[in-house]
C-alpha cells in the first residue's frame, strides 16, 4: 500500500482568454480582478520557431505556451525533462477538418493537418523546439483527464526520481462536433512537479469516491470556461495552488476512484 505520492509544484503556467499567463490568472483566481477583455486571445508560443508557429494548430500553441511558462517559473531546462501532455478531446478543430475533408474529397487531405491530428502533436512540437530527448507522452481520460493525467505525471516523477512537466490543454470545439463535445473555450495549464523538496508541497492519493464529493468551485468570472469538465477541475486546482494554504481537493480519476490532492502546509 502507499501513503500517496508527495511532490512539490515548482512551476505553473496557464492560458485562457482574458488571463494569458499564470500571474494574471492567479490574480483572477484570488479575486483581485476580473479577466482582462482585451488580453491576447491567442497563445504567444514564443518558444516555437516562426515557421513551426504558423504550421502548428491551436492546441499545440496552447500546450507549448503553458509548458514554457511553467518551466521558466521552475527555472527548469526542458531538454532533460520528461513530459506528459493531456487533453480531454484532443485537437477538435483538426478532427473537424479531417472528417469534413474525408466526407467530401478524401484524397485532398493535407499531410500537415494529418500529422497535426495526433494527440501527441503538442509533445512532438515541444520536444523538437526544446531539444528534449527525455520520455514524452500524450494522454486522455475524457472528463477524468486532469486526475488521470496528473497521476501519470506524478508516477513518473516519483518512480524515476525526476522532475516532470505536466500540461493540459483543450481547444474550443468546432463544426458539428461542437454540439456533441461541448468545449466552448480554449484552456491550458501546466505544472512542473518535483519529487524533491521545493515549491508548493502536495500529496496525491487515489481514494474511493465519497457519494457526496463536492464539485470544485471557481470564481464566477471564470464560469465561461464551463462546458469543459477538465478546465473547470483544473481551475479549481489552480485556485487552490494560488491560495497556497492547506486544502484538499477531489478530482475524478476513474469510474471507481477520485484523486485526492492535498496542499500541505
Amino acid at each position: 500500500m502507499t501513503a500517496g505520492l508527495a511532490l512539490g509544484v515548482t512551476g505553473m503556467g496557464a492560458f485562457l482568454p482574458g488571463a494569458p499567463d499564470w500571474p494574471s490568472l492567479r490574480e483572477v483566481l484570488l479575486g483581485h480582478r476580473d479577466p482582462d477583455p482585451v488580453a491576447r486571445a491567442k497563445p504567444a508560443a514564443a518558444i516555437l520557431p516562426a515557421a513551426e508557429r504558423r504550421r502548428a494548430p491551436e492546441g499545440v500553441l496552447l500546450a507549448v505556451e503553458v509548458a514554457a511558462q511553467a518551466c521558466a517559473m521552475a527555472a527548469c531546462a526542458p531538454a532533460a525533462l520528461p513530459c506528459v501532455f493531456a487533453s480531454t478531446h484532443g485537437e477538435i478543430s483538426i478532427t473537424d477538418y479531417v472528417c469534413t475533408t474525408l466526407a467530401n474529397a478524401p484524397l485532398d487531405l493535407s499531410p500537415t493537418k494529418f500529422h497535426n491530428s495526433v494527440l501527441n502533436a503538442p509533445a512532438g512540437y515541444w520536444t523538437i523546439a526544446t531539444g528534449c530527448t527525455a520520455a514524452s507522452s500524450a494522454v486522455s481520460a475524457c472528463h477524468c483527464s486532469v486526475g488521470a493525467g496528473l497521476l501519470e505525471a506524478a508516477s513518473i516523477a516519483c518512480s524515476e526520481a525526476t522532475p516532470v512537466l505536466f500540461a493540459l490543454e483543450d481547444v474550443a470545439a468546432a463544426g458539428p462536433l461542437a454540439a456533441v463535445l461541448g468545449t466552448r473555450t480554449p484552456f491550458g495549464m501546466a505544472l512542473v512537479l518535483t519529487p524533491a523538496t521545493g515549491g508548493i508541497r502536495i500529496r496525491l492519493e487515489p481514494c474511493a469516491r465519497p457519494v457526496d464529493a463536492p464539485l470544485p468551485t471557481i470564481p464566477p468570472a471564470l464560469h465561461a470556461t464551463a462546458g469543459n469538465p477538465s478546465s473547470t477541475q483544473a481551475l479549481a486546482l489552480l485556485a487552490a495552488l494560488a491560495a497556497a494554504s492547506p486544502a484538499r481537493l477531489l478530482l475524478p480519476l476513474s469510474s471507481g476512484l477520485s484523486l485526492a490532492l492535498e496542499i500541505l502546509p
Binding site: 474525408l102 466526407a103 484524397l107 499531410p111 501527441n120 456533441v180 480519476l253
Partner: protein, 399 residues
C-alpha cells in the same frame, strides 16, 4: 540511465488481428509466415493498397448492455477481450485484488474516430445523425471507457495516444503504478481499427505502399495499414512465478521531426539503452528483437542502425508483413508476438522481404526459425519522434 526494475509477470495475453482471433491463429502465422494482408476493401473511397483487416467485425455487435458504446473500434476491443480467456483473467484479478486495485492502460491512435467520420458523411442539416449523437464514441477515451465498463475495472484508467508507440508505453505506465503500490495489477493493451483518417492520412504523406509491405527490403516503398486488439495482464511475479515477464523498458523522444524519424536512429538507441539498463542486461543477452519495421524507407533505415549493437546470433524481424502496421495497437500486438517467441521457441519471420537491406540482413529472420529465446525485445516508434522499447524474458532467466 534508469535503475533496474523488479520484473512483472504477464499472467494473461490475447491478440486479434488480420491473422485471426486469438493466440492460436498468431502462433500458426509465426510458424508458417503466411500474411494476413489483403487488397484494400475497406476505405469509403477507392485507395489502391493492402490492409490487415480483421474478418467479421461487422457481424459482431456489442452485447445489449453495452450498446451505448457501439462502434467498430469497441467491437474489435470486445472481440479481443473474448479471446484466450482474457476477460476471465481480468475477473480473477478483480476478485483477488479488488476492482479499484486493477488499472487499465490502453493505447490507441484514433480510437473510434471511424464513428466520427461516419457522422460527418451522414450529417443531418449540419448535425450528427441521431444514432451517432453519443459524446463518448467521439472522444479518444472511448476505448478505455468501454473496456473499463465491460471488464469491470474501477482502478485508474488512462488512454495513451502517442501514435504508433501508444500501446508499448502502456507497459511502462503500468509498471510504475504497480511499483508505487497504487495498484496490484494492470490490464494493458492497444486497439486501433481501420478508418479513412489513417488510410488517407498516411497516403497523403506518401507512406502507403500499393503492394503488401516489405519491411527491411531494399525495394520497400511504404506501409500496409492494419487493425488489431491486443491485451496483456500484468501482476507482481509472486502471483505467477512461472509466467513470462516484463523485465525492462525505455522511452525517449527524437526531438527531430513530426513525421520523420531521426536518420541516425539516436532517439531509438536512447530508448533501447534505457530498456537494457532497466532490465539489467547487455545487448548480447538478447535472443530476439521484434522490430518496428514499418517498411517505409526512412523508418527501416534508421532502425537498422540499432542492429549493429547486437551479435549476429540475435535474431530480428518485423511482423508487419504478417499483420500490417496496426498503429496504436502495434505496441501490445508485437509484445504478444515477442512473448510467443519466448514461450514457443519460435522466431516470427520477417514476411514480405525478399531482398534484405545489407545492413539488416545478418540479423533478419526471413523465414520461421526454431530456437530457444530467453530474452526478447519489442521496438515501437511513433510520429513526433516518440520511442519505446520493451524487454521480456522467460521466467527462468529473469531472476
Amino acid at each position: 540511465m534508469p535503475a533496474r526494475i523488479e520484473p512483472l509477470a504477464i499472467t494473461a495475453m490475447s491478440a486479434t488481428s488480420a491473422l485471426g482471433r486469438g493466440i492460436a491463429a498468431h502462433l500458426e502465422a509465426i510458424h508458417t509466415g503466411a500474411t494476413g494482408l489483403r487488397a484494400n476493401d475497406f476505405s469509403s473511397a477507392a485507395l489502391p493498397c493492402w490492409v490487415g483487416r480483421v474478418a467479421g467485425v461487422e457481424a459482431a455487435p456489442l452485447p445489449p448492455e453495452h450498446v451505448a458504446w457501439e462502434c467498430r473500434n469497441n467491437r474489435l476491443a470486445w472481440l479481443g477481450l473474448q479471446q484466450d480467456a482474457m476477460l476471465d483473467a481480468v475477473t480473477r484479478a478483480i476478485t483477488r485484488y479488488g476492482a479499484t486495485r486493477v488499472a487499465l492502460l490502453l493505447g490507441t491512435s484514433t480510437a473510434s474516430i471511424g464513428a466520427t467520420e461516419e457522422a460527418y458523411r451522414r450529417l443531418d442539416h449540419g448535425r450528427f445523425p441521431p444514432d451517432l449523437r453519443r459524446p463518448w464514441i467521439h472522444t479518444l477515451h472511448s476505448l478505455a471507457g468501454f473496456v473499463a465498463e465491460a471488464a469491470g475495472i474501477q482502478g485508474p484508467a488512462l488512454t495513451i495516444s502517442t501514435a504508433c508507440s501508444s500501446s508499448a508505453k502502456v507497459f511502462a505506465s503500468a509498471e510504475r503504478l504497480i511499483r508505487l503500490g497504487l495498484v496490484d495489477a494492470a490490464l494493458v493493451g492497444g486497439v486501433d481499427t481501420l478508418c479513412d483518417s489513417v488510410l488517407f492520412g498516411f497516403h497523403s504523406l506518401g507512406l502507403v505502399s500499393t503492394r503488401p509491405c516489405r519491411p527491411f527490403d531494399y525495394h520497400r516503398d511504404g506501409i500496409s495499414i492494419g487493425e488489431a486488439a491486443a491485451f496483456a495482464l500484468l501482476e507482481r511475479v509472486a502471483a505467477a512465478p512461472a509466467s513470462p515477464r516484463l523485465v525492462g523498458y525505455g522511452e525517449s523522444s527524437d526531438a527531430y521531426h513530426m513525421s520523420t524519424p531521426e536518420p541516425g536512429g539516436r532517439g531509438a538507441l536512447a530508448a533501447l539503452d534505457a530498456a537494457l539498463a532497466s532490465a539489467g542486461i547487455d545487448a548480447g543477452a538478447v535472443d530476439y528483437i521484434n522490430l518496428h519495421g514499418t517498411a517505409t524507407p526512412k523508418n527501416d533505415e534508421a532502425e537498422a542502425h540499432l542492429l549493429a549493437r547486437f551479435p549476429h546470433r540475435t535474431r530480428a524481424s518485423s511482423t508487419k508483413g504478417l499483420t500490417g502496421h496496426t498503429l496504436g495497437a502495434a505496441g501490445t500486438l508485437e509484445a504478444v508476438l515477442a512473448l510467443l517467441a519466448i514461450q514457443y521457441a519460435a522466431v516470427p519471420p520477417n514476411t514480405g522481404c525478399d531482398a534484405p537491406m545489407p545492413d539488416a540482413a545478418p540479423w533478419l529472420a526471413l523465414r520461421p526459425e526454431s530456437r530457444t529465446i530467453k530474452v526478447a525485445l519489442s521496438n515501437s516508434f511513433g510520429f513526433g519522434g516518440n520511442n519505446a522499447c520493451l524487454v521480456f524474458a522467460r521466467a527462468a532467466s529473469a531472476a
